[in-house]
């Protein structure tokens, strides 16, 4: 009996020690925590970064921008040093004071970026953010399984009979609405109640033709032919092309959005220098080119595009989309205090049966 008690006491002590250790280990070596989407950088990137700079980097996976915003706003940014955020969310984070002003002196590689990428409307002069990838959203489809090649958002939202039940859409809020807004000829940054309502009706009607909402595995649904036409970011579509050359990507004729995924440093970060070192490392031409080769997204880094393996541009045509075509698309901006109404409309779309 008493041996049992002694054993139990030892176990309690061990458990308490374990808890204490887990809390303490967070305070150990120079380490930065980076919040980043899954499959959005080459797996060796962090290890190589550590090898070169000696700084440890931990990866906190984020699901989407809303997930990231939730985590950063609730914790005040504590626990994160570098965060990857899409352009409209950079504006929001800056307004909330949650991200730091960047010290360009620590980011000499900023000069590698295209001129246009150094002065984007959501963050002129890259005061708070550094562009990481940029691209557009469109339709990704199996050219061998569709009767007619899609050209418009309506092909997604009001599909032909043979496509019904084999379509997926993005459900992450800004992009879900963008499809509806663009299809009706409105701006992706619209907050006009009438326009939002019209888009909402269109998107709710489109729901019954969907196989599912899918933000992350839609390209594998194309490969397995569960789906034939999907709403996709251009880079993700390339993952599908890798596995099945019959997959193609087009930008609908009504136009689409231009998104920029960026890197920001949290204001609460206690390792700002290390965070800057990471961002500067990413901007190196060879590193950024390797990122492009892995993610198959376009990067706004002019020097990186120069050292890139040119065969990639022929295998993945959308990588070769030029800046002027890209800039013809509408840039996503923060919606400011109209965010509440916008979120409400999206919730109504997602909740509708």
């Amino acid at each position: 009996m008493f041996r049992t008690i002694r054993t139990l006491t030892a176990m309690v002590a061990a458990a308490v020690a374990g808890v204490a250790l887990s809390a303490a280990s967070a305070l150990a070596a120079e380490k930065i925590v980076i919040s980043q989407w899954d499959a959005y950088w080459p797996p060796e990137l962090l290890a190589n970064f550590t090898k070169e700079t000696g700084i440890e980097a931990e990866w906190a996976v984020q699901i989407d921008n809303e997930d990231m915003m939730g985590k950063v706003t609730t914790s005040g940014g504590k626990g994160y040093d570098v965060v990857f955020a899409s352009s409209p969310f950079v504006e929001a984070l800056a307004k909330l004071g949650l991200i730091a002003e960047l010290d360009h002196g620590k980011l000499p590689n900023l000069a590698n970026l295209y001129k246009e990428a150094q002065d984007l409307p959501y963050d002129p002069g890259n005061k708070h953010s550094v562009p990481y990838t940029w691209g557009t959203t469109g339709l990704c489809y199996r050219s061998d399984l569709v009767k007619q090649e899609p050209t418009s958002w309506d092909d997604l939202l009001k599909p032909a009979d043979d496509l019904k039940g084999k379509i997926t859409m993005l459900s992450t809020h800004r992009w879900l609405m963008a499809a509806g807004l663009k299809a009706l000829g409105y701006s992706v940054n619209s907050t006009d109640p009438a326009e939002l309502a019209a888009a909402k009706d269109l998107l709710i009607a489109a729901k019954k033709n969907l196989l599912a909402y899918d933000d992350t595995t839609f390209y594998s649904k194309l490969v397995s032919a569960e789906a034939v036409l999907v709403h996709a970011w251009d880079g993700w579509c390339n993952f599908g092309i890798t596995e099945n050359a019959a997959i193609k990507f087009i930008i609908p004729k009504e136009g689409s959005d231009l998104f920029v995924d960026t890197m920001v440093v949290t204001a609460a970060s206690e390792h700002k220098d290390a965070a800057h070192a990471f961002i500067n490392y990413v901007l190196r031409p060879d590193v950024h080119a390797s990122i492009m080769a892995f993610t198959l997204y376009k990067v706004p880094n002019e020097k990186a595009m120069e050292v890139l393996d040119k065969s990639l541009l022929t295998t993945y045509p959308n990588l070769a989309i030029t800046s002027d075509v890209l800039f013809q698309q509408e840039q996503l901006r923060d919606l400011g205090d109209r965010q509440k109404e916008f979120t409400r409309v999206v919730t109504e779309i997602l909740a509708a049966q």
């Binding site: 989407d64 809303e66 997930d67 915003m69 939730g70 706003t73 929001a92 307004k95 909330l96 039940g165 459900s171 992450t172 809020h173 729901k207 969907l210 196989l211 599912a212 909402y213 899918d214 397995s224 032919a225 569960e226 400011g336 205090d337 965010q339 509440k340 979120t343 409400r344 999206v346 919730t347 109504e348 997602l350 909740a351 509708a352 049966q353």
Partner: protein
């Protein structure tokens, strides 16, 4: 301090204290939040409003509550219909077989719920086993849409909670006095009649307990509709999850959570009352 009071404090203090701090107060905070407004970027604006509850009463969201209740009810009914014969056989099997048979039913229940839902993604999808099997058998030409809809959710929920129902029913059935059924047969009643008039009513407590638990667990479930619903079929759990993490409308999510709790409490009270009535009528073993 008297010995009695000391005893109370030592025994009840830690537990009740833990509940007070990490259960009651958090739920209280959620209740309070439900009366405030969402901030522009997702925080809380401390302005009193009942708008969240008014919004929850919108037919759009009521439809989600009703759908959740409907799916939970279908799951419960299916679990009952499938589980009762199974539990009956196990409870009336030779004594040395009962435990192994029961454990075999419960075994999946003790493994990870996520994985059990995931298994159905593999089995039900358009290119999955069920469709391939049906096509191979020549029963269908085109694959059936078995996944990412309400059908898949019910299958997932049923799969998750059937063992639980079987356990609850087994508990009740195994407590029956076999002599009563024998007496009924001796008096000339058919086995069906014995079952309907004697066995079934006597096992009502087990049916009640199993049904309420399966229903309550199903209606608040998040994982199964999330993995198997394709985002198109939302249940209350998903809606609340969305409001807290994607839409970042904590006040609205809080109001939804409270309505859910209220519904469940009503059910539990109703069940307790019904069981009391059934027992009060004098029909118990």
């Amino acid at each position: 301090m008297s010995a009695e009071v000391l005893r109370r404090v030592v025994l009840l203090g830690p537990g009740l204290g833990w509940f007070a701090l990490f259960l009651v107060i958090p739920c209280g905070i959620v209740f309070v939040y439900s009366f405030f407004e969402r901030g522009t970027y997702g925080g809380i604006d401390y302005i009193f409003t009942v708008e969240n509850y008014a919004r929850a009463a919108d037919p759009l969201y009521l439809a989600i509550f009703l759908t959740s209740a409907k799916l939970a009810a279908i799951t419960t009914l299916a679990a009952l219909l499938i589980g009762y014969p199974a539990a009956y056989l196990i409870a009336t099997a030779p004594k040395r077989w009962q435990m192994p048979l029961l454990i075999l039913v419960m075994l999946p229940f003790w493994s990870n719920y996520l994985i059990r839902s995931y298994a159905w993604i593999v089995v039900l999808n358009r290119e999955g086993l069920v469709n391939h099997g049906l096509q191979a058998l020549g029963l269908i030409d085109e694959p059936l849409p078995l996944l990412y809809n309400q059908f898949a959710i019910v299958v997932g929920l049923l799969y998750g909670y059937l063992p639980f129902m079987v356990l609850a029913l087994y508990s009740s059935i195994s407590r029956l006095n076999p002599e009563i059924a024998e007496a009924s047969a001796d008096l000339g009643a058919s086995s069906l009649r014995t079952f309907l008039r004697i066995t079934l009513p006597l096992t009502l407590p087990g049916i009640g307990a199993g049904s309420v638990f399966v229903f309550v667990l199903s209606i608040g479930n998040f994982i199964t509709p999330d993995l198997l619903g394709g985002g198109r079929s939302l249940m209350v759990g998903n809606l609340i999850f969305d409001q807290f993490l994607s839409a970042r409308d904590w006040p609205f999510g809080s109001s939804l959570a409270f309505i859910l709790i209220a519904v469940m409490l009503l059910l539990l009270v109703a069940q307790a009352w019904a069981v009391k009535r059934a027992q009060g009528a004098g029909i118990h073993a």
